[in-house]
């Protein structure tokens, strides 16, 4: 696993602006982390199933019963911008 991490490109995927200094610093630091993690490629995982959770529970259902939910006021309480009981968002369409 050669380190091909391009921090600038990945930061765009992550919708996360970085300063030029941060980009440079992370490039070096994360290259170190990836180098350390190279040893994972030595492990034989041929017949191993990937484990997403340590506790295998699947298909968890509950009864579909109406319950209490937030009022519009509660849902909007932490809104960065709001008006007329609605969130104001950045323009998405031209």
């Amino acid at each position: 696993m050669a380190t091909e991490l391009d921090v600038e490109y990945v930061s765009k995927l992550a919708r996360l602006n970085l300063s030029p200094q941060e980009t440079k610093l992370f490039q070096k630091q994360l290259a170190d982390v990836l180098k350390y993690a190279e040893k994972l490629s030595e492990v034989d995982v041929t017949h191993v199933e990937a484990s997403a959770h340590a506790v295998p529970i699947f298909n968890v259902f509950r009864k579909d019963e109406p319950g209490k939910c937030f009022t519009a006021e509660e849902a909007l309480a932490n809104a960065p911008q709001k008006a007329n009981q609605l969130f104001i968002v950045t323009k998405v369409v031209e």
Binding site: L13, E22, V33, L40, V43, A54, I57, N78
Partner: protein, 485 residues
């Protein structure tokens, strides 16, 4: 006892006094206020404290309830209705919780009073509490050192008698490691044992909520209340909650303690090694039998942990987009600019670093090589523990390879900080339970620094680790040693 000394009481003793009406819940909170005001300027354990709300809640609380009138400090990643919940991040600087997490609902139903939100590494990412956007918490044993992390505020508050007990969260060691470095008891419950509803997600396949306490019995009292199935957390297990205090006081005859040879690592501090070896001999003298076990994939634990935890974090933290809550960048020119600057300005360095790593290991072309491979090695780590637990009841080790380090000592080298989780992270990967109990004091440059003994148990075998931790604790004086703040 004067009101001034109340905060030094254990939870069990506090409860006795409350029930005998020797003190009122109001007096308890007032005495804690006095103590917090005295030590907080030195340790900076709390991010916010609403004494008025707590005093109001304490009025008329039923002290016969399991935790009636007991104040509980809460890590600032757990939602308490009406209180801030910053997760240690500027991006949630002005956020106020519109609801209670399930653990808070349960504590309140048991008569406990949430009091104070404790400092933490931003979004629980760190091992020193230095990654908080707001302040650096100091270790009550030596104010030039870190309390551990990420639940460092909770650990420091309990250590300094600025809280009777506190809640933390543990994703790779974030309860046990600060408990170890600050000289208190910390419990990471089995995956699925405690609901995470209302707890801001970091790495959903690893996160658990648990107590930090002055001693083992106090920790069982909190666990009894917060554990159990919750329909609002689909990973929550339906198994009944046992009485965690049932085994306290039982001897250790016939208990098999596993010592993994892979935990004999380079970089283990000699004083930590010596204290843990002494503790193992002590457990042996109490009747336990020592058995060598193998955990052959231990060496890969940190790499696996940092791929899985960052991958999950990169997805979980996508919700911080400045739309419905939290910080929003001013005057964005378009949506990409809105997202990019909101997150770039709102998150701190460690969180950004982990989002980048997590996004990378999930990205097209690298997903199989990094993320899927990490999940497979995770399965091997889990199987290591399953096999070891066929031979032994619990596994013992140091909690942290080193005692508390200096503020600023490791911030430049993220990899060195990540290696602080070497003994704890595989427990999260395997979903098992663990506890850290004080087992010694290292002497470093004139300071005395706590050392922690970790006891790992099978999934849902919390009662067993409490039994062993309690037997050890009661046969030593370490838990009675308190820092002078």
């Amino acid at each position: 006892m004067s009101e001034k000394n109340l905060p030094a009481l254990t939870l069990a003793d506090l409860q006795t006094r409350l029930r005998k009406k020797e003190v009122s819940p109001r007096e308890v909170i007032e005495s804690l206020r006095t103590r917090i005001q005295a030590v907080e300027p030195k340790i900076d354990a709390y991010l916010s404290i609403d004494f008025d709300a707590a005093l109001k809640e304490a009025e008329g609380v039923d002290v016969s309830l399991p935790l009636g009138g007991v104040p509980v400090a809460v890590k600032d990643i757990i939602n308490v209705k009406g209180q801030p919940c910053t997760c240690g991040s500027k991006i949630l600087g002005d956020y106020r919780s519109p609801y209670d997490a399930t653990v808070i609902q349960r504590l309140r139903a048991a008569g406990a009073v949430p009091l104070g939100k404790t400092n933490m590494d931003e979004f629980a990412m760190g091992s020193s509490t230095e990654n908080s956007s707001f302040k650096v918490t100091k270790n009550p044993w030596d104010l030039s050192r870190v309390p551990g992390g990420s639940s460092g505020g909770s650990a420091a508050a309990v250590a300094a008698d600025a809280a009777f007990v506190a809640l933390g969260t543990d994703t790779g060691g974030s309860i046990r490691q600060p408990a170890s470095l600050s000289g208190v008891v910390g419990v990471k419950p089995s995956y699925g044992r405690v609901s995470r509803f209302g707890v801001t997600a970091f790495a959903s396949s690893l996160d658990q909520v648990g107590p930090l306490a002055k001693n083992v019995r106090d920790a069982t009292m909190i666990m009894k209340v917060i554990a159990g199935h919750d329909a609002r957390d689909s990973t929550s297990l339906p198994n009944p909650v046992p009485d965690y205090a049932q085994n306290l006081g039982k001897d250790l005859k016939g208990i098999r303690l596993g010592i993994p040879k892979e935990f004999r690592i380079e970089g283990l501090d000699p004083q930590v090694k010596s204290a843990v070896n002494t503790a193992i001999k002590q457990l042996e003298s109490l009747g336990a039998q020592i058995v060598d076990v193998n955990l052959p994939h231990t060496d890969h634990g940190i790499a696996v942990y940092y791929f899985i935890a960052t991958a999950e974090a990169s997805a979980n933290l996508a919700r911080f987009d400045g739309v419905r809550y939290g910080y929003r960048a001013k005057d964005p020119k378009d949506l990409l600019d809105h997202y990019g600057r909101t997150r770039g300005d709102g998150f701190g360095a460690e969180v950004k670093r982990r989002i980048i790593l997590g996004t990378y290991v999930l990205s097209s072309g690298y997903y199989d090589a990094y993320y899927v491979r990490a999940q497979k090695v995770r399965e091997l780590i889990r199987q290591d523990y399953v096999k070891a637990f066929e031979k032994v009841d619990v596994i013992v080790s140091p909690t942290s390879p080193v005692p508390a380090f200096k503020v600023g000592e490791r911030t430049e080298d993220p990899l060195a900080m990540y290696l602080a989780d070497i003994f704890t992270a595989t427990g999260n990967l395997a979903g098992i339970c663990g506890i850290s109990v004080p087992c010694g004091l290292a002497k470093v440059n004139g300071s005395q620094l706590p050392i922690g003994l970790q006891i790992l148990g099978k999934s849902l075998d919390e009662a067993r680790i409490f039994q062993i931790a309690y037997a050890y604790e009661q046969s030593t004086d370490w838990h009675k040693q308190r820092p002078k703040v």
